[in-house]
Symmetry: C2
Subunit: 354 residues, 2 copies
């Protein structure tokens, strides 16, 4: 039976503490990872634990670090992540952006010297919960995307996220990789023995392929959103570049195109970007949230192709998943569960997921 959200979250925290992460950092990191699992963003929750364990063991992500502001103005902060996992500095940086935006009207914070920060949507949502517009993005750690017309990996999934508060309390929450699909969906096709649809992957020569093994095992690539030049993959490619300009060029983190990026002997140097905007600098209090609600209500009321599949707005699948999983627990596949159990044992953490 799936473990409850509370146990799931406690398990993650116990492992992180077992890795030597201080109490407060473990609390924040477990909160963000379990948020992803609760909301159905399975690629960014407990499934990251084996990868994070690898980063920790190889010394590429420290467990006992605190983010510091190294430069700031009333509307901005540059944060040094200290070479740890990204969740704590990302949470800290968005917190700084929110605080400044509440004073000045808008603010941005960027992070350098960081690593994978989990689900980008979590941080945008922090702003929306405070009545602000939130934006967040990060350079990816895996380099697996060839730019349009190219046959060489230069970019990653480089996600973009945007959230806005709504009067009814259900925010708009867009959280998207700038690739057509994430690697996980391709892996699922391979596991099922199915071909990938047109537009998902390219082979090592940069030609379209339907082989789910081509992108990872055979030297091929993920496609940028759009999928092919004919279907405007330059847009997904352009968005990935935008994400890297905001996250890495603004923060001074290592560029994703720098081949040292994955070879840096100690620590990682990924960049993140966060922004918060107070709508009240433009509108009377509450008017923006009312318009967001009207807009989302109108979109949800669009006549559906199939009445069994109503039109949603970004975020709706996540709220639905969270409501369901809060009731029925958070499912974790047996293979992953076994891996995590071994990692928990090795970290001398209690086991809470049976």
């Amino acid at each position: 039976m799936p473990a409850s959200y509370e146990n799931h979250r406690a398990q993650l925290k116990a492992i992180l503490k077992g890795w030597g992460m201080p109490e407060a950092n473990a609390e924040t990191t477990a909160e963000i990872l379990s948020w992803a699992d609760l909301h159905g963003v399975d690629s960014h929750g407990i499934s990251m634990i084996p990868g994070y364990d690898g980063l920790r063991r190889s010394g590429r992500a420290k467990m006992d670090v605190a983010p510091t502001i190294v430069r700031e103005t009333p509307v901005s902060a540059l944060v040094d992540g200290g070479g740890g996992l990204g969740h704590v500095p990302a949470h800290f940086a968005m917190g700084v952006a929110i605080k400044k935006a509440k004073t000045v009207g808008m603010a941005a914070a960027v992070v350098k010297h960081s690593a994978h920060f989990g689900a980008a949507g979590y941080y945008s949502l922090m702003a929306a919960k405070e009545g602000l517009i939130g934006m967040s993005c990060t350079s990816a750690s895996g380099i697996q995307v060839a730019p349009t017309f190219g046959k060489q990996a230069r970019l990653g999934t480089d996600p973009w996220s945007f959230a806005a508060p709504s009067a009814d309390g259900t925010p708009f929450l867009l959280d998207m990789a700038t690739t057509t699909v994430a690697a996980g969906r391709i892996r699922n096709k391979a596991n099922e023995g199915l071909p990938t649809p047109d537009g998902w992957v390219l082979d090592a020569e940069g030609k379209p392929s339907n082989d789910p093994l081509v992108a990872k095992e055979k030297g091929g690539f993920l496609t940028s959103l759009g999928g092919s030049p004919e279907n405007s993959s330059y847009k997904g490619y352009g968005l990935a570049v935008m994400v890297n300009i905001l996250a890495s060029c603004l923060s001074g983190a290592t560029l994703i195109t720098d081949p040292m990026h994955t070879k840096k002997p100690v620590g990682m140097d990924i960049g993140h970007f966060f922004m918060a905007i107070d709508p009240d600098i433009f509108r009377e209090t509450g008017d923006f949230q009312q318009d967001v609600q009207s807009f989302m209500t109108a979109l949800r009321a669009t006549t559906p192709v199939d009445p069994a599949q109503p039109v949603m707005v970004a975020g709706d699948p996540q709220w639905k998943n969270a409501a369901k999983r809060m009731e029925t627990g958070i499912p974790v596949g047996p293979g992953l569960l076994n891996q995590v159990r071994q990692i928990a044992q090795a970290a001398a953490a209690p086991w809470l997921l049976d």
Copy 2:
């Protein structure tokens, strides 16, 4: 023979003045329209003249208006476009955002009570030319996109643009409709008697189609970037919603989902959004521009699939077009040229394009 850029621009200005637009407004509007034609953005230059003439004749866009700031803070401005074409208020609003960003570090300006503003990229580029990051977007005027899983038009091409300065003087410039393709590319297929590729259009039932006439003439729809639910059209759809939240919910303009939007008896009420960020609030002067240049240089050096088609970054096609057209003039098809000639005659404007 195509007219020179100077004549092309002078022709546009003469028509706008013939329509009763004040000198300064005509200068700005002609500058922005001819920028689009010079840079190969043919859908947003002189080809808009017949449509603008229709808006003018029907009283839906006034010619003699001045934008005004109706609310502001050190980091923000809300601009009333006055019910005219969008170019002048958009140019004004981005100018305000740039000025404030140079003082405070970042700023945003939104416009309501406006109409079509031309190419979004022009405004982002204004910021990049001043050494700032620029963002701009606008609600669309045409409603022709069904949200993912829907079969009812709710959204438009709702473009997003982002620009960043580079040390070598050639900025990064992303300017993209959030649909898979713009209506013009579908029209081109129809003109050539060719089917549209998979993912471009949906029929009136919301099913995928390859009929280039289906979206416009047969009650169908353009697709959101991604093209199908399987290929993540929710991402293009989500970006379109983000664009409308920034452009219309923040400014208080009429929502694109409000059916009165196209029926408003007098004037239009489209919203726009502009933002400028000074990278020097995060980095030492020049470091950001150096990193943007390194990043773009690395991307352009990606091994190409076809050596005859090198990898580009967003903006490169525009700079190439501008260099060529500055030499050889700006081509305008005979049908459009005739339409514009008649409009010029009716406006008692001199004819400069022969």
